[in-house]
Structures are given as C-alpha cells and as structure tokens.
C-alpha cells in the first residue's frame, strides 16, 4: 500500500519533505539515492520489502500488540511452580522504578565522566554481590548464568594451563549444552556421576577422575535438581590437592541463609542474578555473575569488564574506570580473553537496587521464607499416595524433585491436568534425566502463600486420584 502523500514519521524528524530537500541542497546532492553510490546495482533491493502494513498510529500499534500479549497467561492468572533457572520472586516497586528510568535505560557507552551514575550503580552492584559472596572481585554482569559458568571454566583453564574439567552429571542439560559449545575448542568435559538416592556427587568417581590435567572441578550448590551438595567443602579440598580450580555455581537468593561458596573453599563463584529483583521476562531477565578473590592472576583472566573505584584530580571525588582494561577485547582485539560486548548491565543495576532494599535482614528472611514454604509444600505433597518427595534424600533449598512413578501417570499428563486447575506444575525431568523416571522439578518461593500450597496439594490429589 503506497501512500500518495509522503508520510512524516514521528520517530524520524527529518522525514519532513521540506527539510529533506533543504539538507540535500546543503550537501549538493540531488537525491538520497545518490548517497548510496558505493553500493553496486546488483546488490540493491529493487522490490519493496514485503512486510506487514504499517501501524502508523500509536493507538493501533498498542491495540495490536496488547491483543497478542493478551493471549499469554501469566503466573498470577495461574499458580506457577516452575523454576529450573528462572524464578518467580516478588519484585520491589523501586527496582522497576529505577530500571525503567530513561537515564539508565538509554545510556550506553559514555565515559566515566559523563556516565558516572551508571559506573557507580554497577560498582555498587558488584560491591553488594561481593558482600553476599564474601569475595572481592565481581564482574559487570555477563549474559546469563550459563555464560558465567562457561567463562569461569575457561578462566580456570587459562589459569592452570590445563584442559580437563569435571562437571556433575546432575547439572541441567541446557547449561551443559551451552558449556560444551563454549568450551569445545580447548577443554575436555567429563561428567561425574551422582548418587541416585541422595543426589550427591559420587566422591569416589571424582577422586578417580582428578589428575594433574584437571583445570577445574565444578559443582552447583544448590544443585540444578534442588538439593544441597553436602560434601562441598571436602570436594574443594580434593580439587586443591590436585592444583585444580574449585568453581561453584550458586543462586544468590539463597545466600542470606546459605554459606557462600567462598566459605567452603571456592576459587570462583558464579551464577545468575535473575532472582534479585528482576522479572522473569520469559527468560529475558537473566544476568551472569563471576566472582573471585582479589588475586592478580585471577583478575587478569576475566574477560568481562571490571569497574574499579579511583580518585579524580579533585579531592573528595569518587571516579570509576575499567580495571586492567588491556585484558578485554575492546583494547586488544583477539588477543584479549574471550570477548566482551553488550551484556546485561541493566539487570546488574537492578540487582543492586534489590540488595540495597533487602539488606542483611531481608536476605535472611527470604532465605527462611523459601526454606519454610518449600518444606511445607514437600510435606503436603508427601501425604499424597504415589507421590515420592523429595526425590533425593538430602537437604533442599527451594526446589525439589517429585517422583510420580508409583502413580502410574506421566508427568506430562499430570501437568496437563494441573493446567485445568490453573496450575503450572514443576518442570518435567523425564527427558532430561530418564534415570529419574517420571519426576518433576518443583519450585516454591516466597510468592506462594500457605493457601497456594494447600491448593497445589489438593489439585494434585485430585489429578492423581
């Protein structure tokens, strides 16, 4: 549909025809197409692009998109017990207030002088994460927790000069896939088995697999499947005996109640910050953190930006800048470590806001909350015939496996039936971990009231009857 009148677009100030003409005149060109002189004819698009008709009015645009979005059902309209890397927590209003401000939303790559606020906000984020993790160096966020793990493993390899990495077989398959992709050229990944009863890493197998070729031993605490690795400290010690780096993935929301990995010997801690005041965003709210102690050799392995505090020429003024900038690919192209680019800074700022609102008391309280509600749900579900919960005989945090083998029903059926009750059941693990039979990963957070949990139990009871 070509319009007779040239359209003047609200987003394109110089689409006013008179202005266009005037500008062309000032630069001595007859037409805009003249300006494309370097593009040969055979590379030019002749036909008009076949795109949906323009919704020139904002009203029509809003109506259309809102119409599409209305077909989505959100937790709120449903009761959701999904976790597995993306979590439904309460998001304080101030978090959204800050990260929706245009000043933060539209800033990008200014200097530390004129984008000082962004630098300070991110320095504060890394500082608060440092307190949570008991570590002194934290990166400006990378893409997500997957990337954090993958990069941490490559850092370990660069540090030790070795190429073998030991991973728990209980880790999520998506993360494993991504890590395989990322580590492919340089690293050999070996999976260490876990105990089907307790979920814990098989220590004997670990000991057998460790050698002077091991760059890193990786575990997650809490694990992907929700349980805690109780021998974490011991595993760290064994890793160190072989000169390997001990890398631990963790969920920051647990660290008000749980000991941070540094406390049991981790050299590198990593994970995802989405639980810290960031909406789920259909998976778009992820951000990765990597933390280490302040040792020069570790610092030099970070590929990401590290913001440091520095004095300015005026007394009493804080300034910020990149620490050891030469590391990153901006300065030295391919000779830098991996690469750095646009990642997840806004989520870092948001997580900082969250942590400052929560404070130590809030973090302790949410830890308690998550533990209490999760245990309550487990107890309630355990009363249902055929349901075996928790899947593993180990302490859990907020996620736990539930096994339905004795019910004779498959998780897929059960979840479909739960949908009718307005409930999103836990993630179906039967394809990812066939050895666990018909099991699902349930996640309970502070947004679930006792009523919600009772409703879950009742619905399950009905569905399984």
């Amino acid at each position: 549909m070509k319009s007779e009148q040239p359209v003047v677009y609200p987003y394109i100030p110089n689409s006013v025809p008179a202005i266009k003409r005037q500008m062309l005149q000032e630069i001595g060109a007859q037409s805009i197409m003249e300006l494309y002189e370097d593009i040969p004819q055979r590379l030019r698009q002749t036909a008009r692009m076949n795109l949906p008709p323009a919704l020139l009015s904002e009203h029509e645009l809003r109506r259309y998109i809102e119409g599409l979005l209305a077909r989505n059902k959100m937790p709120g309209e449903y009761l959701s017990f999904l976790g597995a890397g993306c979590y439904q927590h309460f998001v304080p209003a101030i978090c959204d207030e800050v990260n929706r401000r245009g000043e933060f939303l539209t800033a990008y790559a200014g200097e530390p002088y004129d984008d000082h606020g962004r630098f300070q906000a991110l320095f504060e984020y890394t500082s608060m994460m440092g307190e949570l993790l008991n570590m002194e160096v934290v990166n400006v966020p990378t893409y997500d927790g997957f990337q954090a793990t993958a990069t941490a493993l490559r850092m370990a390899s660069r540090l030790t000069g070795r190429s073998e990495v030991l991973l728990p077989a209980s880790m999520g398959r998506d993360k494993l896939s991504m890590v395989r992709n990322y580590c492919k050229p340089d690293l050999d990944l070996r999976l260490i088995g876990y105990d089907l009863h307790s979920g814990q890493i098989d220590l004997e197998a670990l000991r057998a697999a460790l050698s002077d070729r091991t760059a890193a031993v990786y575990l997650e605490n809490p694990a992907y499947l929700g349980f805690l690795e109780q021998s974490a400290a011991e595993i760290g010690e064994i890793a160190h005996r072989y000169g390997a780096v001990f890398v631990v993935g963790t969920n920051p929301i647990t660290l008000g109640a749980l000991a941070p990995p540094a406390d049991y010997g981790a050299d590198i801690a990593c994970g995802d910050i989405q639980p810290l005041g960031i909406h789920m965003n259909y998976g778009g709210g992820q951000g990765g953190f990597i933390a280490t102690h302040d040792e020069e050799e570790y610092v030099r392995q970070y590929p990401n930006r590290l913001f440091g505090i520095a004095p300015t020429i005026v007394e009493g003024e804080y300034g910020f800048g990149d620490v050891a900038y030469e590391r990153t690919s901006f300065a030295r192209r391919e000779e830098g470590n991996e690469w750095v680019g646009t990642m997840a800074a806004l989520w870092g700022i948001t997580a900082g806001v969250y942590l400052s609102l929560m404070g130590p008391q809030g973090m302790a309280e949410i830890g308690e909350n998550l533990l209490a509600r999760s245990r309550y749900a487990q107890k309630k579900m355990a009363e249902i015939p055929g349901v075996s919960v928790p899947l593993f005989a180990a302490p859990h945090f907020m996620e736990f496996g539930v096994n339905f083998d004795a019910t004779g029903k498959r998780v897929a059926e059960i979840n479909k039936a739960l949908l009718e009750h307005g409930i999103f059941g836990g993630k179906d693990l039967s394809v990812e971990f066939p050895e666990l039979g018909e099991s699902a990963l349930y996640c309970v957070t502070e947004v679930h009231s006792q009523e919600d949990l009772d409703r879950l139990a009742a619905a399950l009871r009905e569905v399984l009857a």
Binding site: Y9, I12, L105, E131, M358, Y376
Partner: protein, 535 residues
C-alpha cells in the same frame, strides 16, 4: 487610554546563548554503603504463616551447619525513600540517548527507543512469563517471535533466524560455532581452522571466532580505506573456514566489492558471515542474500531500536540460509498453521548458546518498531540515517582540523570515522581531549575501537532520530571546541569541567596493589580497614 506597556518593556526579550550552559548533575553521591543505618529496612517480606510454621518448625534446621551462613552479609541497611533518592540521583549522572544528542556513538546506533514499545515490554503479560510455561499459555509471545523472524527474513533474504544470543558478540560467536559445525559435518574441522576478518570490523569479529578455536587472519585496508580484495585473495587457502566481516565497516564505507569477497571465500570452500551491526543505513536498500552471505546477525538493540540499557540486555539475532539453518541453536519458533511452538527438532543443531530463548522483550520492542514503520518507514529510516550522516560529514569537514580519511570525496553510509590529526598536529590536543571538552556542552563521542588505525579518531553516527537542528547544534559544539583547541587549549586539556566528575587518575586501575572492584576491596586496600567478621 495609552497602553503604557508599549512605551517601555520591563526587560528585553530573552535570548538563549549560542551553546547551552550545560552542567551535568553532580550529586557527590556517597557509595551506597555509606548510607547504611543499622536496623533500617527497605522492604518487608511476607511473614511465614503460623500454619506453615506448625508443620515445618525451624526451616533452617534442615540445613547442615557447615552450609549455613555464619554471619549476615554486610549489605547496606537503608530505608526505601533513601534508596530511591540515591538511585535517582545516580540516574541523573548519565548522558542517555533520551536526553542528549547522541550522535557521537558510532556503530552503537543510538536511535530513539520508542516509549510505547517499552511500555508494551513492561506489561505483565510480557514480563511475568516463565520460559517453561506450557506453550499453549504463551502463544502471544511465541507469535511475536515468529512474526519478527519473518520480518528479518524479508529484510535480509536469509531463511531462518534465532534470537538466542544475548548480544551482538554472542551472535558472532554462535555464527562461528555454526561455521565450525558445518565443516565438522564434512570432516574438515581440523583442516579448516582459519577465519578471515578485517581490521575495521568490530573487534568481536576476531575475538569471538578465536574463542571458538579458530586462528584469525586479519586483512588491512587498501589506500582508499576499502577492504583489500587482493589481500583477501592472498589470505584464502584450503585452511579457510570462513570470513566474518562488518559492512559497511566502522569507517562508514560500504565495500562495493563485497560480493566478490564472498565469492573468493566460497571458492576456497569457506562460509561467509555478515556482521550487520552497521545495518541501519541499509534497511530495504541492500541485503545479505544478494551479496551471497551464508550467515548474518543483527543487533536488535542497535538497528531495531531496543534501548541499550546501560549495556544490555540485548539480542544478536542470527540468520542462516536454508542449508545452514539445521545448525542453528535450539529451540527455534515454528508455526503449523494453527499453533506456535518451540521447535526442538533440529538434530544437527549446535545446541544452546545461552539460556532459554534470548531476551524476548528485546524482540518484542523490535517487532513493534518495525510494525510502526512498515516497509516504507523502514526504508525511510535508512535513507534519513544516511542523509543525516552525509549532512554531518559535509559540515564536519568545514571545521578546522578535521578530516575524513579514505574514500575522499565520496559519500558514506550511516557513520563516518573522522580524524582530528590535523588539529592534533597543530595544537597538540588529542581526540579524547576534544571529546571530554564536548561533554561540557552535554554531548559525547566515541573515538574508535583499538587499534587506532585512523589517528586521533572520532566516529559519529547520527541515525535517523535527530533533527537537522540538533545536528547543527552538535556541529556547533564541536566547532566551538575545535576553536578552543587553537585559541584556549588549556580549557580543553583540563576538561571535563561540567561533567559529574573530573579527570580520573587511572594509576589505581592498573596496579594490582591498588585496584578495587568492590567496596570491601577498597576498604581493605585503600582505607586500610581490617575486615571484621567474615572474609
């Protein structure tokens, strides 16, 4: 009756000064820990119901002692309004595209991010979705992703797209993985271990394939600043896995022989990946397909208007020809005529390059942006971006001390890399210093990636979002600062004066005994405070 006011005015008409008397907010805001007051609370959590407590008792009991946190984290304790004030003040200490003439960030494409799109992205029906929800409950967002894929297919001419990479560099990495997988599928992965790129392409075109295990062969431009075809011919061999190239490059020069470049690499058995970070001037004008590319990527937070977010979240959408689509990361989004679904049926997929499906809100914003413009509007955006750029070019060249190296007398596409070399020779003032002084008037610019091939560089990309009056204002500022370089160099050398902070002493940032990336490190190393408690 005599109109007294016609006789004498109380004051003369107000005349705005030629250049804004800009001063950035300078709050001297303490670091948030310094606002802490023991006992203060920012938010309260829901209490645990007595019914729950009755059943579970002390929830912490179940955690083995050695895994329990011993001492509370030393996070700041602050009341809610104080947190808000703190962060709002920090927000004022930035120069975001919402309020400055952000034409100085070449290759970043700082165009207007329409607020309507942000509001749509914030709506709970977008922000409150869990990625693992039953797909019947997220048909809306899946449809957005599917439809936007169709749009990118039309824009690029390629066949299938994935939005899983969470940034431009992530997209380049994913494309490098696809190239790797392609050669592996014919058993040639050991033989074909070289990726060719150019020095003016984005640094990630080198860093990312290197991370994927390739050797990098960089070619330098010819005298006119175009990628050197002869050099490419000399560079290809049976070891060539592929070419990863940005076009136009960051100089704003379109390589007219790009199709020949692709042919040369294809003839050698390699694949070609098109880094379209600089696509803003080409929408509707020129496509990846006609140039013969096998892979491409777009930065949705650049060309497609999603806001930059202070450095993310973002999406690098990767596109592939039919032949290579089988390697794309999974899942893709498919439509069977009835229902949208996450498609995991890709046996040769490289697997995952990130969690879930990328950042759907960025896709949503991009989708809305394209819908609001349509084919004609997209083309207009590209054309005006190019018009604005050449307008800026014509006028920049009139400023004393500026040149635009390479392709002399020719037009550029959507950005230009200028050089202040002449001014530097005559005054000793560097490009960085010019940029810092420009910040005193409320604008900034980016010099260049490293290495600086163009001396004293300055890379400007006006996009289509700024009016000619705003471009004139930007020019007036640079002209003024350039003039000061000659007549009042000290004020330039000691800039910035009106920014939030002054010149930073970088010694601390490269010295391992002094650097501090967290407050606790700063306390220990600089303030010499012992860490009590943990740590």
């Amino acid at each position: 009756m005599i109109d007294a006011h016609l006789e004498s005015k109380a004051y003369p008409p107000i005349k705005k000064p030629g250049l804004r008397r800009f001063h950035q907010a300078r709050w001297d805001e303490p670091i948030i820990f310094e606002l802490s007051c023991p006992g203060a609370r920012g938010v309260i959590l829901p209490g645990i119901e007595p019914g729950i407590r009755q059943v579970v008792g002390d929830p912490l009991e179940s955690i083995p002692t050695r895994l329990r946190r011993r001492l509370p984290p030393r996070l700041p304790e602050i009341s809610q309004p104080q947190v808000l004030r703190h962060y709002v003040r920090l927000s004022q200490e930035n120069l975001g595209a919402d309020f400055n003439i952000d034409v100085g960030q070449g290759t970043c494409t700082m165009k207007y991010s329409p607020k309507i799109n942000d509001q749509l992205a914030f709506s709970p029906h977008s922000s409150e979705l869990h990625p693992l929800q039953d797909q019947d409950t997220v048909q809306g967002i899946l449809e957005v992703m599917y439809r936007f894929e169709q749009i990118l297919k039309e824009i690029s001419g390629l066949e299938r797209f994935s939005f899983q990479p969470r940034g431009g560099s992530a997209a380049i990495y994913a494309n490098a993985c696809i190239i790797r997988a392609y050669h592996a599928s014919s058993g040639q992965q050991d033989q074909r271990d070289e990726i060719i790129t150019t020095i003016f392409s984005h640094p990630s075109d080198a860093a990312c394939p290197k991370t994927a295990g390739f050797k990098i062969i960089t070619i330098y431009p010819d005298e006119d600043g175009y990628p050197d075809l002869q050099a490419l011919k000399s560079a290809v061999s049976e070891r060539t896995a592929g070419l990863m190239i940005t076009n136009p490059e960051d100089t704003g020069i379109f390589n007219p022989r790009i199709a020949e470049f692709v042919e040369v690499v294809h003839a050698a058995g390699g694949l070609c990946a098109y880094d379209q970070a600089n696509a803003n001037g080409l929408l509707g004008i020129s496509r990846a397909r006609e140039a013969g590319f096998d892979l491409c990527h777009f930065n949705l937070h650049k060309t497609f208007s999603s806001p930059h977010g202070s450095g993310g979240p973002a999406v690098g959408a990767i596109g592939a020809t039919q032949e290579l689509a089988r390697f794309l990361p999974l899942p893709l989004v498919s439509f069977d005529g009835n229902r949208y679904r996450l498609d995991y049926d890709l046996p040769e997929s490289i697997g995952k390059v990130g969690s879930f499906y990328g950042v759907p809100q960025v896709v949503l914003r991009s989708f809305a942006w394209v819908l609001s413009l349509g084919a004609d509007g997209l083309r207009e955006a590209a054309e005006i971006a190019v018009l604005n750029n050449n307008y800026l070019l014509t006028k920049m060249l009139k400023i004393r001390g500026v040149s635009a190296p390479y392709a002399r007398g020719r037009r550029r596409i959507e950005q230009v890399r200028y050089s202040w070399e002449q001014l530097a020779k005559e005054t000793g003032i560097s490009s960085e210093q010019i940029g810092l002084r420009a910040a005193d008037f409320g604008v900034h610019y980016w010099t260049s990636h490293h290495p600086y091939i163009v001396p004293e560089p300055c890379t400007l990309e006006p996009t289509e979002s700024y009016s000619n009056a705003e471009l004139d204002e930007y020019l007036a500022i640079l002209e003024h600062v350039a003039g000061e370089a000659y007549t009042n160099p000290e004020i330039v050398k000691s800039a910035p004066h009106n920014s939030t902070v002054h010149l930073i002493d970088h010694t601390a940032l490269d010295d391992p005994s002094l650097w501090a990336t967290t407050w606790r490190a700063y306390q220990r190393k600089i303030c010499m405070k012992p860490i009590n408690g943990e740590g």
